[in-house]
């Protein structure tokens, strides 16, 4: 177990260089013969979260935050049935009470996609890599997130579409506690209720590292792989614990479009995390946590 959460110097150049390189090469490549820019999408959101500290129920701290995200990309046909999609994005979240959680981020994503034909029900298979740099108002969480995986998108009927992805997640934080690895399997079903209304359901299973904050207890110390005094919750005296867990997430959302360029999106996400190797001290409820988030977002494309 890593104690004290020593702040390590990090090789930050990789993710930042990837994101910046993506932004730099994007215009010249997109000027190529068949490359096409995708529309810019701007998202503004308000989210209420009943457990921003990811604590057990007796120590959960709720907060609300405003978010903004801008994304832009381009599509580069590779062959008749394959293409590359490169996207750059940036954004931030501003928390109402626990300002240490407020952060900005910038990143990029590359997808390589295959689709066998233009048939309505043909599936689109993808390989993707995403990287983003995050800058928090507090220190310890600063760092990078990377993810890579396989995805499949398939229209099931003319009203329903399935998406599934197997993804490896890597967190590279300033503190060891925020160095995390996990594997996730997720699925999403879009159900079109009409031309402008879509109900969506998501389910995800993650296995790997999570970070939970709370007061010190024998059970937590015994379960954690790394611990540090959490600088986002200093007034609470919370420590951040990293441990391995099984996490389930469910999403229920509703998207109402105002024509093609604007939409309003209301969603509820629920997550439950249980330690993979619970401590023999105390009860399992000392470690596991649940989170419920309600989010309202306005999206515009131009």
């Amino acid at each position: 177990m890593h104690r004290g959460g020593s702040i390590r110097s990090r090789r930050r150049s990789f993710a930042a260089a990837t994101a910046l390189a993506g932004a730099a090469v994007l215009p010249p490549i997109a000027h190529g013969a068949d490359a096409e820019f995708t529309a810019t999408i701007v998202e503004a959101s308000f989210t209420a979260d009943n457990n921003v500290s990811r604590s057990s129920s007796d120590e959960a701290l709720s907060d609300r935050f405003l978010g903004v995200r801008v994304g832009k990309g381009f599509v580069l046909p590779v062959s008749a049935r394959t293409r590359a999609v490169i996207q750059a994005f940036a954004g931030g979240e501003r928390f109402g009470t626990y300002s240490g959680l407020s952060h900005a981020y910038i990143g990029g994503q590359g997808d390589f996609q295959f689709r066998s034909s233009g048939e309505f029900a043909a599936a689109t298979y993808g390989l993707y890599f995403r990287t983003q740099a995050e800058y928090y108002d507090s220190e310890l969480r600063d760092g990078y997130r990377h993810a890579f995986g396989l995805s499949v998108l398939k229209p099931v009927t003319d009203r329903m579409q399935l998406f599934a992805a197997l993804q490896q997640n890597i967190g590279d934080g300033k503190s060891t506690v925020f160095d995390t690895k996990s594997t996730s399997l997720r699925g999403n079903l879009d159900w079109s209720l009409g031309r402008w209304d879509t109900l969506y359901l998501g389910a995800e299973y993650r296995r790997g590292d999570v970070v939970s904050s709370g007061t010190q207890s024998l059970a937590r110390v015994d379960t954690a792989d790394a611990i540090v005094q959490d600088d986002a919750f200093t007034d609470k005296g919370y420590f951040a614990y990293r441990f391995q867990a099984n996490t389930g997430l469910a999403t229920l959302g509703y998207n109402h479009a105002f024509a093609e360029k604007h939409s309003l999106d209301l969603s509820w996400r629920y997550a439950q995390s249980k330690p993979l190797h619970p401590s023999g001290y105390g009860s399992a409820s000392d470690i596991r946590y649940t989170v419920s988030q309600v989010s309202l977002a306005y999206l515009v494309r131009f």
Binding site: I41, T124, S263, L299
Partner: protein
């Protein structure tokens, strides 16, 4: 012991009674299709309508899935309605508040289909080697083996050649004409009712139709569109959940 043809299990009896009552047949199937959708395939011979929602009239009579649509018919939709239908090798999505007359070209005409879109919005795909004419309030368009989207009102027509070739002429200004050869919605146009000579046609943005809709109606006539990947830019913006 009872012979095999006699009911023993009450659940089996209920199931058979339900089947006999048509519990799992057409009306429920149609209801399930309207809620959950269906995978579009080539329509069976004799069936014209794939999906009808809201109030839809064919020759002033309420349409059902069994209503045939043929040259000479007038098809209308009420506000909020929609009709997805097939006519020979052509397939269409007629949006709400629309009226289209399917004309019957004379046998001597090279045209296979002629449509008069008086008002409203129509997405169409046409078979190769089947010259077609679309007349709107302000434009006359000749198309060949293509997918097109048109919105017609008395002031102007919106016309997108989604793929294929279209010859567009303004009805009130014969000097305004343009041929568009498109691979993927390259050059949407407005054709105005009133403009100075030679200036009735101008560029337009991309609006109100999607690649998924084109794939759907092509499937109804057993074809696929020339593009492989649909562009999501034509759908409502959605959130990213990393």
């Amino acid at each position: 012991m009872k012979p095999f043809d006699q009911f023993d299990d009450p659940r089996r009896r209920i199931l058979i009674q339900a089947l006999a009552a048509g519990f799992f047949s057409a009306p429920w199937g149609a209801a399930a299709q309207s809620v959950f959708g269906s995978t579009p395939r080539r329509l069976p011979a004799g069936q014209s309508i794939y999906r009808a929602s809201g109030r839809v009239l064919v020759n002033s009579r309420e349409a059902t899935l069994a209503t045939p649509i043929k040259p000479g018919d007038v098809v209308e939709t009420a506000p909020g309605g929609e009709l997805v239908f097939v006519l020979a090798e052509e397939a269409f999505i007629l949006r709400g508040e629309s009226r289209v007359v399917i004309e019957n070209p004379p046998p001597s005409s090279p045209l296979k289909t002629a449509l008069r879109l008086a008002t409203g919005k129509l997405l169409s795909v046409f078979g190769r080697g089947r010259p077609t004419r679309i007349v709107t309030a302000t434009a006359t368009i000749g198309v060949r083996g293509t997918g097109v989207y048109a919105e017609s009102d008395p002031e102007q027509t919106y016309f997108c050649t989604c793929y294929g070739v279209a010859d567009i002429t303004a009805n009130n200004d014969r000097q305004s004409k343009e041929t568009v050869a498109a691979t993927h919605h390259n050059r949407p146009l407005y054709i105005a009712a009133k403009a100075s000579a030679g200036n009735s046609i101008r560029r337009a943005p991309f609006i109100n139709h999607t690649d998924q809709e084109l794939m759907l109606i092509e499937a109804l006539v057993g074809r696929t569109p020339p593009f492989v990947f649909p562009m999501n830019d034509y759908n409502a913006p959605r959130r990213e959940y990393p």
